[in-house]
């Protein structure tokens, strides 16, 4: 209820962009579905842009057109929704998607990204993900990877990854 009032208040100003920062908690799945449904409908009607900030990989898969994945204060991958779930081009995204329990994994260990997110006052040099990355090489410790353009056959929209080895990651993901 409170959520719906907040949304109604935001809409009263007829914005062209709405930023929803964790608009629902996964604690209330059926309420979350109501709220996301409402947001999607308003967005269609009012033709407004929506920036949805969440840690729920299910929610983004459901509503987003484009996804930007952040790690330690930077965008590390940006891609159209279908492309990124089909084949991530950054090892962090790949790890996140792999750690979601899948039906065929029952009774087995879940994939777990090793280590912990960094302390933001001591972000590792080079690629911030390197201490946790299974693909890290020497260059990852010394050089910060740019948010480079990812290209492959069949890709029409823009896609980017901040990984020195996005090609290898992409190939390994497929």
């Amino acid at each position: 209820m409170r959520q719906r009032i907040m949304i109604a208040m935001a809409m009263a100003l007829e914005p062209s962009l709405i930023i929803a920062d964790e608009p629902t908690t996964a604690l209330d799945v059926t309420v979350q579905a109501q709220v996301m449904d409402l947001l999607a409908e308003l967005q269609r009607e009012l033709h407004m842009g929506l920036i949805l900030i969440t840690h729920d990989l299910g929610v983004v898969a459901d509503v987003a057109d484009t996804i930007a994945v952040m790690y330690a204060g930077r965008i590390v991958e940006r891609a159209p929704v279908h492309e990124i779930y089909r084949a991530p081009a950054h090892p962090y995204t790949r790890g996140l998607l792999a750690s979601i329990p899948r039906l065929d994994q029952k009774g087995q260990d879940l994939y777990a990204i090793k280590g912990l997110p960094p302390n933001l006052t001591r972000i590792p040099p080079g690629c911030a993900f390197h201490p946790r990355c299974p693909m890290a090489q020497d260059v990852c410790v010394t050089e910060e990877p740019p948010l480079a353009r990812v290209t492959y056959e069949g890709l029409v929209a823009e896609r980017r990854s901040a990984c020195h080895f996005w090609k290898e990651t992409l190939d390994a993901s497929r």
Partner: protein, 346 residues
């Protein structure tokens, strides 16, 4: 009655469990004007070595059930039988002996650990109440073994909670839960407060400890995919009651209760391809207040199948009549007068 494995005695049997919190008015003369029916008639069995997952949305009473199981709250009514003995009637030494065997792991590793105590003192604290488990001289070594068991460096024994990350703190909470060598662990949302990238590590640890120590788990969580991963059987709660129980496949693939169906259909799946061809059941309205639950079936104010009978008769948690003589996964306990199968997960 819940299914379970033939030939095995349940380690816990919960029958008619109720917790009402009095609603009072007045400052000088406090008068009871009603009750929050946080838990209002819950039944389930837990078998040795299995994991029973309990799911349900915020406020449905999951934590209250957990607290009654570990005796942090006294039930208003009902029984909790541990190996056949009703522990809600025990007191004194007998209660203490049973409590040792049922331990809890809490949701929030940031607030559940005393910041002024060292990790060693936190994990070893249960030994103060149960010195028979670890005589004074052996405690330090026992605590270090526990740190090792949960994947923490035994040398961290003198550190304080703030020196650890969320995932590590949850390991400390788990080590404390294991200190008295319990048989049953009640885990209330043990990974919900953790970074997504760390949740899998803790789930794997819980899985490994279960086989290592033959533990039985009551695993409470709102994340339906994690619950499915870890549970042998699942109970779905709505407004103070369990509305459906069954094996994970029965609940996830053959739900017969409308609330379970709505809940499953509302879970966002991390697969954009599923977007177009998924049927979403969007419920109308909000969850009613547990101080004033609807008559008959509590879900009726949001149920698209509700009929007159639903307002008059409380549906029992049992195998619905239409499935009673049928073989197959739809024949499991479901508290609905008009239960029917509906596949909702793609």
């Amino acid at each position: 009655m819940p299914h379970g494995e033939p030939g095995r005695e349940p380690i816990l049997q919960v029958r008619g469990l109720v917790k009402h919190y009095p609603l009072t008015q007045g400052v000088v003369v406090r008068k009871q004007v009603g009750a929050v029916k946080a838990v209002d008639g819950v039944d389930f069995d837990l078998y040795q070595g299995e994991t029973l997952g309990i799911v349900g949305e915020s406020g449905c009473g999951k934590s209250t059930v957990a607290k009654m199981l570990v005796n942090l709250e006294r039930p208003t009514a009902g029984e909790i039988r541990y190996k056949g003995e009703d522990i809600t009637r025990l007191s004194g030494r007998a209660l203490k002996a049973v409590r040792r065997n049922i331990q809890m792991v809490f949701q929030d590793p940031y607030t559940s650990l005393n910041p002024r105590m060292t990790v060693g003192d936190i994990i070893g604290e249960p030994y103060e109440i149960h010195p028979e488990v670890a005589p004074k001289g052996s405690r330090r070594q026992k605590v270090q073994e526990l740190l090792d068991v949960v994947g923490l460096n035994p040398e961290y024994i003198n550190r304080y909670p703030h020196q650890f990350s969320g995932g590590q703190r949850q390991r400390i909470g788990i080590a404390r839960g294991l200190a008295l060598r319990p048989e049953v662990i009640v885990a209330d949302e043990p990974v919900s407060a953790l970074d997504v990238s760390v949740q899998a590590q803790v789930i794997n640890l819980l899985d490994q400890l279960q086989s290592q120590f033959d533990l039985s788990y009551v695993f409470i969580a709102h994340d339906l995919s994690i619950v499915r991963h870890i549970s042998d059987r699942v109970g779905v709660m709505y407004l103070g009651r369990i509305v459906e129980t069954g094996t994970d496949a029965e609940i996830y693939e053959h739900p017969t209760h409308p609330y379970t169906q709505a809940l499953l259909s509302a879970v966002p799946v991390p697969d954009p391809e599923a977007r177009e061809h998924r049927e979403r059941i969007i419920l109308s309205g909000d969850v009613p207040s547990p101080a004033n639950p609807p008559s008959g079936c509590r879900f009726r104010t949001r149920c698209w199948k509700a009929r007159e009978r639903c307002a008059l008769e409380v549906p029992a948690l049992a195998v619905p009549a239409e499935f009673r003589y049928a073989e197959g996964p739809a024949a499991h306990d479901s508290a609905c007068h008009f239960a029917e199968e509906k596949q909702v997960v793609p």
